[in-house]
């Protein structure tokens, strides 16, 4: 540990630009970062509150947002979630303004008072599919904040899966990051192997679609317009089957064991699944393998089918099953490396958080077990799959380790997409 630079032991700083939350803060926070929602509110300049607050802010972020909120129809338009899909449009000025504000909010909140402080070593983490202009924009934002407040000594940006691998202490692994809209499969061996990344055009939102269809089938079609309600239903009742056919057979035979009544918290609404409890398995399976014939009838009824999508030079596969995607990614790496990659598969992100009720043990499984089963079915053995510990914090933790360890003279290079950009010289 003696190699840890004493300055960075105090002033390493991490930023995780997640789709829903922005996790940030210096190393001195210990195990958990500070968290605010990754969103900003553009206040109505004619509002009373805006006038009362001194009309100083164009964009409001962090815990102040509720002070400005008004019950207006244009609320949705004024509330900006800049990273909903992990990528921000180059010309989305309002989204970039929000990013500037949340970045500044975090850095100023933890600006140290010590005289020896010459700026943070900031490592920011963004989606591995983020285009180059996002890197340039983020560097520019930090440069601007440093010019105004002298708070950033050096900045670097790393892909989120690399940060996950660092936090999990695995130097050779495959990280599966499954978020709201897509799933990224990133092989890592000391460095992220960018040419081997496979992206699926499938994420938590697709599981919401099948959950909504199930609600319709159960006679609760009127509720499916409420996205939050559908998500809560999905999270409460969804199950991942070890084998879908066997699980459905079990569910139809042992109806009592799958009987579910879902109560929406804070309301009087109850969703009774009756004898249709077996449908719970359809939700979890869809995340891992949507190509099962059981889903055919839902697509025929108009449920959006995950499609292949081409963004830039990257194809986002729609229907590829999760194990196939891992194999596809690993096969793009050198042959000698492949067995080591299969040995450490890390599942990260909310889309892998599925419960296993004890009475359904063996029929329903957790995501790690499901992946292992699927890999074995494809003839890949000696597979070790794990779920990230503290998934909410792991990217930020990886950023802190990166800030602490990477030498200061390792400067940013666009070809290798790594290294520091030094913003303020040592005095």
């Amino acid at each position: 540990m003696s190699s840890i630079d004493a300055y960075r032991r105090r002033y390493a700083y991490g930023e995780d630009y997640g789709t829903s939350d922005f996790k940030f803060g210096p190393i001195t926070l210990g195990e958990k970062p500070d968290i605010i929602e990754n969103r900003g509110y553009i206040p109505d300049t004619s509002s009373i509150m805006y006038k009362l607050m001194g009309a100083a802010k164009k964009v409001v972020v962090g815990p102040e947002i509720p002070l400005y909120l008004e019950a207006r129809e244009d609320l949705a338009e004024r509330m900006i979630y800049p990273m909903r899909n992990g990528v921000i449009d180059l010309n989305d000025t309002r989204a970039w303004e929000v990013i500037y504000e949340i970045t500044k909010y975090g850095l100023l909140k933890y600006k140290p008072k010590e005289k020896e402080f010459k700026g943070f070593y900031v490592t920011a983490a963004i989606s591995i599919i983020a285009p180059r202009y996002m890197y340039e924009k983020l560097f520019e934002i930090h440069r601007q904040i440093n010019e105004e407040y002298g708070i950033v000594r050096a900045i670097t940006i790393i892909p989120q899966p690399l940060a996950v691998a660092i936090a999990q202490k695995k130097t050779t692994c495959v990280v599966l990051e499954s978020g709201h809209g897509n799933t990224q499969i990133s092989p890592i061996s000391m460095y992220p192997i960018r040419r081997a990344i496979v992206t699926l055009n499938r994420g938590g939102s697709d599981a919401n679609y099948i959950a909504a269809e199930i609600l319709r089938d159960l006679g609760y079609g009127d509720l499916v317009q409420e996205e939050k309600l559908v998500r809560m239903f999905k999270e409460a009742v969804g199950l991942v089957p070890a084998n879908l056919d066997k699980a459905i057979e079990f569910g139809k035979r042992e109806k009592e064991k799958l009987k579910t009544v879902f109560r929406i918290p804070g309301t009087r609404i109850e969703i009774d699944m009756g004898d249709q409890g077996w449908m719970r398995f359809l939700i979890g399976e869809y995340v891992f393998n949507p190509s099962h014939e059981v889903y055919e009838s839902y697509w025929k009824r108009g449920m959006p089918r995950p499609r292949d999508l081409k963004i830039g030079d990257r194809i986002f596969y729609g229907m590829m099953d999760m194990a196939e995607a891992v194999i596809e990614a690993v096969q793009r790496t050198p042959i000698e490396l492949q067995p080591y990659l299969y040995r450490e598969i890390i599942l990260s992100g909310g889309n892998f958080a599925w419960k296993v009720p004890p009475e359904l043990n063996g029929i329903a499984v957790d995501s790690a077990t499901k992946m292992r089963i699927m890999m074995e079915e494809k003839g890949i053995e000696n597979v070790r799959v794990s779920l990230t510990k503290d998934p909410q914090y792991s990217v930020w933790r990886g950023c802190i380790v990166y800030s602490v360890a990477v030498p200061e003279d390792y400067l940013w290079n666009w070809e290798r997409m790594e290294g520091w950009i030094i913003l303020s010289k040592e005095e």
């Binding site: 540990m1 001195t28 210990g30 020896e116 000391m190 990886g398 802190i400 400067l411 790594e418």
Partner: protein
């Protein structure tokens, strides 16, 4: 010589010498081997088995008897083959000696001659040791094994304590050195208060303890080598 004449002569011979006749059930010889035993005697703690052979027409017949007698040695202390003196030419004495089986020759007048003495079976002596002694030996052996294991565990623990003690001593010395240096520098600069202030200002919660994700993280080494040759 008839079978019964041979048996009676042998009984008389052994009884005269103070041997006690045993019935088959008094021994531990397996059932399938009992048919190859004609007489059983006890001499103190020794059990003696005798196979009476009334006629030896071929050499093979003698060999069959010898083989069975050899197997019997597993269960008794001494084994004899007894036969009429007239069959002496058919008998291979060296074979008997090498297998530890004794030979008794009986003539028409009822005289018995111990032509080859049997070799006592050594392991039979062990069988004579009372069971409780064996049990006690076994338990003592287990206790010794247990004690040996505990002893080696203790030796290991002592080694570890020694290492820890030496590390503690080293740390103690380093603290003393740092304390001395800190005092000297403070005094030489003549601004004790100011230094105390600055120490206060950089204090970090749990400063001595690294967060769990930094402890034993192999990435620290991997990342610190960035730029030093890929």
């Amino acid at each position: 010589m008839t079978y019964s004449a041979l048996i009676n002569t042998l009984k008389e011979y052994f009884v005269k010498r103070g041997f006690q006749i045993l019935v088959r059930e008094e021994t531990t010889i397996p059932q399938d081997l009992l048919e190859h035993v004609d007489l059983l005697f006890r001499d103190a703690n020794n059990i003696i088995a005798v196979k009476a052979v009334t006629d030896i027409l071929e050499k093979d017949q003698f060999l069959v008897s010898l083989t069975k007698a050899t197997v019997l040695r597993e269960y008794v202390d001494k084994v004899y083959i007894a036969t009429s003196t007239k069959y002496k030419p058919f008998i291979n004495g060296r074979l008997l000696s090498s297998n530890g089986v004794g030979l008794l020759l009986v003539d028409e007048e009822g005289n018995v001659q111990e032509a080859i003495p049997p070799r006592p079976v050594v392991r039979r002596i062990l069988r004579g040791i009372p069971k409780e002694y064996i049990e006690e030996l076994r338990s003592l052996r287990e206790q010794i094994g247990e004690l040996r294991k505990r002893y080696s565990d203790l030796v290991k623990e002592i080694e570890q304590f020694r290492e820890i003690a030496s590390e503690v001593r080293e740390l103690h010395e380093r603290i003393l050195r740092l304390e001395r240096r800190f005092r000297e520098e403070t005094i030489s600069l003549g601004r004790i208060e100011k230094i105390e202030e600055s120490v206060e200002a950089i204090s970090i919660p749990n400063k001595e303890e690294l967060p769990s994700y930094l402890r034993d993280n192999p990435w620290l080494q991997v990342l610190s080598r960035r730029g030093k040759g890929r």
